[in-house]
Amino acid sequence: MYEIRIHSRGGQGGVTAARLLALAAFRDGKYATACPFYGAERRGAPVVSYVRIDDRPIRVYSQIRNPDLVVVLDPSVMEVVDVLHGLKRGGKVLMNGTTTEKLHGVPAFAVDLTGIALREKLVIAGSPILNTPVLGALAKMGIISVDSAKKAIQEMFSDERNVRAAEAAFQELVI
């Protein structure tokens, strides 16, 4: 089972990112679950979402303690949350941003999802949309196939810019 923890802030689309990722994995023919952990807080508070991907049905509902991959959609949550907490030995980190220098000693990758969203003018109520571009980055990392990433986005969103943003993230992420 491959376990992914996504860190974001309420309203940034972390929950949708988890759902898109699960959908894409499902379109790859895998079993997948997305479980957001909802606190009682409002917009802007740090939120975590969990995605599990496996070849067999998934029966676990508890939170992910030891993720294989941590995705940080909003690097500012790192000031209040230890995003590396419980990361599996050999686990990886995907950061939204231009640098991974705050993450010593773990394999970390950065891609400027915010920049991509702004370039594609994917902005709702003043916030850039990160959940569709991040799918491109995850495809590049081999978590899901490019084809399923696209399908998942198209199933959930009609605006083609979302797919373009994912493609841009795929291009820009250096592995």
Partner: protein, 370 residues
């Protein structure tokens, strides 16, 4: 059609498939997505139901009652405080023999406010004459909602059915979902005592002790008959659609020396614990209770039993543990866990089994003696 959905969306999709005539519901976390999805279906024209955006849950159930007695198919959904606020009408629906189907998204009860999973809400309605079923996956939420209509409306039952799913853990989790073309799996509703101006009758009229007593006995008889109807419905569902669940779902149960009993998502998590324990050489199995009313009969003799209750009856104990003990001579280890959404992992469950002390009760995570 194969897709992926939350537990809430799965319930709404099943409701769309059986097309109730009238839906009355009120929002409450974590059920709200069901109401919103239904409002969306009705607004877009995908679902031709009358949707009543009532001003409270008491009115939601009352509106379902008013619709149902005309012979209409009805649905509502709620959770926690909403369920408790409609309590009077919940009793009324069963007493009036109305086959209303309700989804309840299990959530703790305040004070203080807590929106996370706990079964105490529905357990407080367990003596009302409603059938109650608890599900553990998105697919099961969908399939069971379809079955609930058929069971409730069956001539041998004519009682309301409550479908329970764990708040957030299941209501907001996304998993694969195979939506069905139900065809005639749920036949048209025929309510024998529907209001008919050509055949006027008084409904709920002042009733003396003897008649009252007889009406209660009628409810109990239907409850007992419902076991057969549930089994038949499951069988037909399996034949048509290839899936079945049973009154309780067994996992590595046959040869198990120690059995973990739980409901809802904890029942699924327990299966993972069973695998862990088996690898350690412990002959464990699990039993996930689905139907709480009518309460299932199983034979647990000769096995050790660990019961996890995500509920509590103060001054009495875990409701499932106590109910099992009342029915059979088992020495069981009663674990109270997961109240108010407390995190319980498969490791924790394996721990309950390893450290079991039959005849005692553990409040998980609470240190201190009573």
């Amino acid at each position: 059609m194969l897709t992926i959905a939350t537990g809430n969306k799965a319930v709404a999709a099943a409701v769309k498939e059986v097309r109730p005539d009238v839906i009355a519901a009120y929002p409450i976390t974590p059920q709200t997505e069901i109401v919103e999805q239904i409002a969306e279906y009705v607004t877009s024209g995908e679902l031709d139901s009358r949707y009543i955006p009532v001003e409270s849950e008491h009115s939601a159930m009352a509106a379902c009652i008013g619709a149902s007695i005309t012979g209409a198919r009805t649905f509502t959904a709620t959770s926690s405080h909403g369920l408790l606020y409609m309590h009077e009408m919940v009793n009324w629906a069963a007493g009036a023999r109305l086959p209303i189907v309700m989804a309840n998204v299990n959530r703790a009860i305040g004070p203080g406010w807590n929106v996370w999973a706990e079964h105490t809400d529905a357990f407080q309605e367990r003596d009302t004459g409603w059938l109650q079923v608890y599900v553990s996956t998105v697919q099961e939420a969908y399939d069971t909602t379809l079955m609930a209509f058929r069971i409730a409306e069956h001539a041998d039952v004519i009682l309301p059915v409550m479908v329970n799913l764990d708040g957030f853990l299941l209501s907001h989790s996304m998993q694969s979902l195979d939506t069905l073309n139900a065809g005639d799996f749920v036949p048209p509703l025929h309510l024998p005592h529907a209001i008919d101006v050509l055949n006027p009758a008084g409904y709920g009229t002042l009733t003396g002790p003897d008649e009252h007593f007889r009406f209660r006995w009628e409810i109990e008889k239907s409850m007992r008959r419902s076991r057969k109807v549930i089994a038949e419905t499951e069988r037909d569902f399996a034949e048509r659609f290839g899936r079945s669940y049973g009154v309780a779902e067994e996992y590595r149960y046959e040869d198990a020396d120690v059995v973990v009993i739980a409901m809802g998502t904890l029942g699924k998590e327990a299966e993972v614990a069973v695998d862990l324990l088996r690898n350690e050489g412990v002959n464990a199995g699990s039993l996930r209770i689905r139907w709480l009313r009518p309460f299932p009969d199983f034979d647990l003799s000769g096995r050790e039993v660990v019961v996890i209750d995500r509920d509590y009856s103060f001054g009495f104990g875990g409701v499932i543990a106590q109910s099992l003990m009342a029915r059979q001579r088992v020495d069981l280890y009663s674990v109270i866990a997961g109240l108010g959404g407390q995190e319980v992992t498969y490791d924790d469950i394996a721990g309950f089994v390893r450290d079991r002390r039959p005849g005692t009760e553990l409040w998980f995570g609470v240190n201190g003696d009573v």
